[in-house]
Symmetry: C2
Subunit: 348 residues, 2 copies
């Protein structure tokens, strides 16, 4: 074994005393070859230490078996879970997903997409980086490579999207807080360059409206979507003249930040101020106090995105339906009733 130059099917053919075509057939598991021959060939494959050259094969074959997953922030466990969900499905389908990280940088994203295209990917699942320009995927679309967006959408594009029902999730969470007796509510974190932000904030506002929370009693604090951002949001909120008693946070990271800031002030989330997160990452359950959060079934959405992609590839189309995933509110300890005015709150 271990010849310096790498072995090809021709070497195998020579070793096994058959033609290269036969070897190719064996590699593809064709039923046309005699079992004994197949065994002979497979032995030769072992002996020469052959590794299949997919690049060469793709030159002839219509489609490759690799799919690109482009993720905006791999260090965020939320997106990592998404990636893992997709992987499960692809693995079962014999497709190899390659993950690339854009670190929330559109330029890097451009490079990564170019590379993936050059490798001849069969499809692309993308959670676009913040600030992605509307035309960023034009070229890929015209090249006929299917794309699916996951978790985030671009303002106008016609590319299919898999996201949780952000609006509904925010409504659920907000209703929950109001039913707990809170009358002055805040929305923490996020910024308006994200479509998701508008969806979640929209749900919050709608629920406030419906359940009769006056505009003056809603506080919206934009901020980084991180722990740090959450801490800042809480400080801002408590500095207000009539501070809120509860907050729906853009995501769990913001919520964790808010809870941390509370503890620094010797306040307890749940008892002194209600906090609800969004995404329900694994950590939420293990926090103390445990975080009430909107569960979006991240892994499930990843699987769904993968399925849609597989179907698109199979039917060689570049169109597909959007998919809005169901959400549910997981009530834990961080969202207690309003206690700011004892005797007045009508907690449910």
């Amino acid at each position: 074994m271990a010849s310096r130059a790498k072995a090809t099917i021709l070497d195998i053919a020579r070793e096994a005393g058959v033609s290269k075509s036969t070897v190719s057939l064996v590699l593809q598991g064709s039923g046309l070859i005699r079992p004994e021959t197949a065994v002979k060939v497979r032995k030769a494959i072992e002996d020469v230490g052959y590794v299949y050259n997919r690049g060469a094969a793709n030159l002839r074959k219509a489609h490759s078996n690799v799919i690109g997953m482009v993720i905006n922030d791999l260090t965020n466990p939320f997106f990592a879970e998404l990636a893992v969900g997709m992987e499960r499905v692809f693995q079962a389908a014999g497709v190899v997903p390659f993950i690339a990280n854009t670190a929330e940088n559109p330029v890097r994203q451009e490079e990564v997409l170019k590379s993936l295209m050059e490798q001849g990917v069969a499809g692309l699942i993308v959670s676009p980086a913040r600030g992605t320009t509307p035309g960023a995927f034009r070229r890929i679309e015209t090249a006929g490579v299917p794309i699916v967006f996951a978790m985030r959408r671009l303002p106008d594009s016609r590319i299919p999207v898999i996201t949780p029902d952000n609006h509904r999730g925010a409504v659920l969470a907000t209703e929950h807080l109001i039913r707990k007796g809170h009358r002055r509510l805040a929305f923490f974190g996020g910024s308006s360059d994200l479509v998701v932000y508008h969806e979640r904030l929209g749900g919050f506002l709608e629920a406030c409206q419906t359940l009769g929370i006056a505009a003056a009693d809603r506080l919206i604090v934009e901020g980084e979507t991180s722990r740090k951002g959450g801490m800042a949001c809480l400080e801002t909120a408590l500095a207000a003249a009539e501070p809120p008693t509860a907050a729906l946070c853009f995501n769990d990271a913001v919520a964790f930040g808010a809870m941390l800031a509370l503890r620094r002030r010797n306040l307890e989330a749940g008892a002194d101020f209600a906090v609800v997160g969004f995404d329900d990452v694994a950590e939420a359950e293990h926090y103390s106090p445990a975080l009430t959060s909107v569960a979006v079934d991240t892994g499930g959405l990843g699987e769904r995105a993968a399925h849609v992609m597989l179907k698109m590839i199979q039917s060689r189309t570049t169109r597909a339906e959007d998919h809005i995933g169901a959400v549910s509110l997981v009530v834990r300890e961080s969202s207690g009733p309003d206690r700011s005015k004892q005797g007045m709150g009508d907690a449910a």
Copy 2:
């Protein structure tokens, strides 16, 4: 644009009125072609919506420009940070890193490695899955593809390894606890099928030995390397006849778990029981109380691994030196002095 069949350099050549060789030269940025010609060709490239076919190119070229990163658990932020560190370096070197996740499963790892090899990667950086068999990389080695292990090593292999100085880190942390007056110490989490476990536990034991902690006063509790595992460890430890007053944890996840379990018992990490973690993930600083932990410079190790890989590729060798990264103890709030016997502790 957007012709159904994808454009090749021949189409470009026709469009620009030159030969395919000229186009190829332009694509490679050769200085041999006349600037005006290059401009003409580049315009044609735009017009026909060309995407480079790296598979075809690799058929002729010696080496590809893709590197595989095989990570055992992408949902662990620690490994995600490692991956991100590597990416930084590779990007700058014009190399495209493809990340694949093995989910700590040797079978999956085998598949992933096979795929990567078939794609013709120039090198492989691997954080091996638990339970990887010693021979798992034999084939890749004999194929002459350089491999670097990151964070974890295999028991016997000669493959270069990039890891933090686990032994020293554990010594530092243990000395710290002892100097804080603790006399009954525990080591929480991990299991002996991991080389890293032995390194860290070894440091712990050595420091105990050196500073005169009797064997009877050391408690070793194996467990899952997760929050859940950490919680279990703490319960086990406190159930002992003479429970420890401090613990060094296998990693931060275990430490977080232990702190959680403490809180559930209405005990406070730092005040009632000292906890030290390992790895110093971003979260450690933002926990409450903030976690004392051994910082290993994850991103830096990733960069280092990437550099080693690049050098190996360049010098077409399959050997390289191991690299043991410096560690430091970051003291925060979770590791207070021993208060179990007031008046007796000689806290420093």
